[in-house]
């Protein structure tokens, strides 16, 4: 930087060190980045509590948010996702950007009353989203 014009005018305003991560975040990750959100529902809201005895509350969770442009290291996204992003940005914006979707699930145990009055305990696969990804 020696002797190159007025130092102040040239160099970008660099924030003081304590909110450096905030400063960089604006370049790398969108404000509302793709991540997991809670949605707690009780089966009585769906009028299913006459046959689902347990659990009382069920949180299936969901994925929401924008997919950042540099996907690879953060979401384990395949290279195709970056290609789709480039197509959207450089070639044809009618092609959708990568979407924020669940990548992993966990099972749910349900206790139900059957129509014949018998009682069933069952474990269902893929009922709670546990991780998000961009695809």
């Amino acid at each position: 930087d020696e002797g190159i014009g007025d130092r102040k005018a040239k160099s970008p305003k660099v924030p003081d060190s304590n909110n450096l991560s905030e400063y960089f975040k604006q370049f790398l990750f969108p404000e509302n980045e793709c991540e997991l959100h809670d949605f707690k529902l009780s089966f009585s809201q769906l009028k299913w509590d006459n046959w689902i005895v347990a659990p009382r509350r069920y949180n299936p969770r969901y994925c929401k948010g924008d997919c950042p442009r540099l996907l690879r290291h953060r979401y384990g996204s395949p290279v195709h996702t970056m290609v789709q992003n480039i197509i959207y940005e450089k070639l044809d914006s009618s092609i959708p950007r990568p979407s924020c979707v669940p990548a992993k699930y966990s099972p749910l145990s349900v206790l139900t009353i059957e129509t014949d009055g018998s009682i069933a305990y069952k474990e269902y696969e893929d009922m709670i989203a546990t991780r998000c990804t961009c695809r």
Binding site: S109, D116, I119, E125
Partner: protein, 288 residues
């Protein structure tokens, strides 16, 4: 949820623009052999168009037992606890649809009691394979025995007499006797009847007739307790079946264990194909 149900309804009636190929929900939903492709929760969405199917109320004591089982098997959020080593992902409790019982009371031998129970197991779906089944006796809280009380129980499990024309097969009946003890403060007594039920459920018999005769006697006769004792064992047993649901939407603990790395599995739990592969590789290495 209204729009959601409408959408589900239009999907079912085929109004929505779907590809030509038949969709899973085109199958008859309630047919006995219909592949259970729709997760039961979605099925409720579909069926909620028709006025909710009437539901018989379960036995309150049975419901209390199943809630206790649920707490033992799942967390408050409903996540199956991973510390369970067995492979069943479904437990069904049936109360007898018809029962006839009579008991006589002998001063010397205690109570002799016989019950005729009919269980309808239609809710056991085709992909559900029986792993274990028990007769579940519940004792009233008020009863507590000063001494261990022994019972000899004779079970007769048969297919109900066939109602149609001459039976092609004489009704199968298995008799075996059980010895069990009512102990102090026991609320539930479970007796394993897997060997009896397995052949019937495997051959798709869904109406099971169980005749139970048991005699209970106590170490020292004590008139005061007799009426308590008599009441205690009048409760008709429920039938508990532990099943492995092999359908796609059921949770297969076995799969998740395997994903965690087959080396953690006990040798006998490993997939036989995998076993062969491993041994095959080792033996070829030795030969080399």
């Amino acid at each position: 949820s209204q729009t959601l149900e409408d959408e589900a309804g239009s999907l079912i009636s085929g109004e929505a623009s779907l590809e030509a190929k038949p969709q899973p929900w085109d199958q008859p939903l309630d047919g006995e052999n219909s592949p259970d492709l729709l997760p039961p929760l979605l099925k409720v969405l579909v069926n909620s168009h028709v006025p909710g199917a009437p539901r018989l109320q379960p036995d309150s004591i049975a419901l209390r037992y199943m809630k206790r089982l649920y707490k033992a098997y799942a967390t408050k959020e409903g996540i199956p606890k991973s510390d369970r080593g067995h492979l069943y992902n479904t437990v069904r409790l049936f109360t007898p649809s018809a029962q006839h019982q009579q008991s006589s009371w002998g001063q010397v031998t205690g109570v002799l009691q016989s019950m005729d129970l009919l269980f309808n197991l239609d809710r056991i779906a085709a992909p559900e394979h029986l792993l274990k089944s028990v007769l579940l006796y519940s004792l009233k809280n008020s009863v507590s025995f000063s001494s261990a009380t022994k019972c000899m129980c004779y079970l007769d499990v048969k297919e109900p007499e066939c109602s149609s024309s001459p039976c092609f097969r004489s009704p199968q009946s298995f008799t075996f006797n059980l010895q069990f003890e009512f102990r102090k403060n026991h609320k539930w007594i479970e007796k394993d009847v897997t060997t009896l039920l397995q052949p019937l459920v495997a051959s798709n018999k869904r109406n099971i007739h169980i005749a139970v005769n048991f005699t209970c006697y106590k170490d020292q006769p004590n008139p005061v307790q007799d009426e308590l004792f008599d009441v205690a064992i009048l409760m008709a047993p429920s039938l508990l079946v532990y099943l492995n649901d092999t359908s796609a939407q059921a949770y297969h603990r076995w799969d998740s264990l395997r994903y965690k790395g087959s080396h953690q599995l006990l040798p006998d739990q490993r997939d036989p194909m995998e076993e062969e592969l491993i041994w095959g590789r080792k033996s070829s290495r030795h030969r080399r």
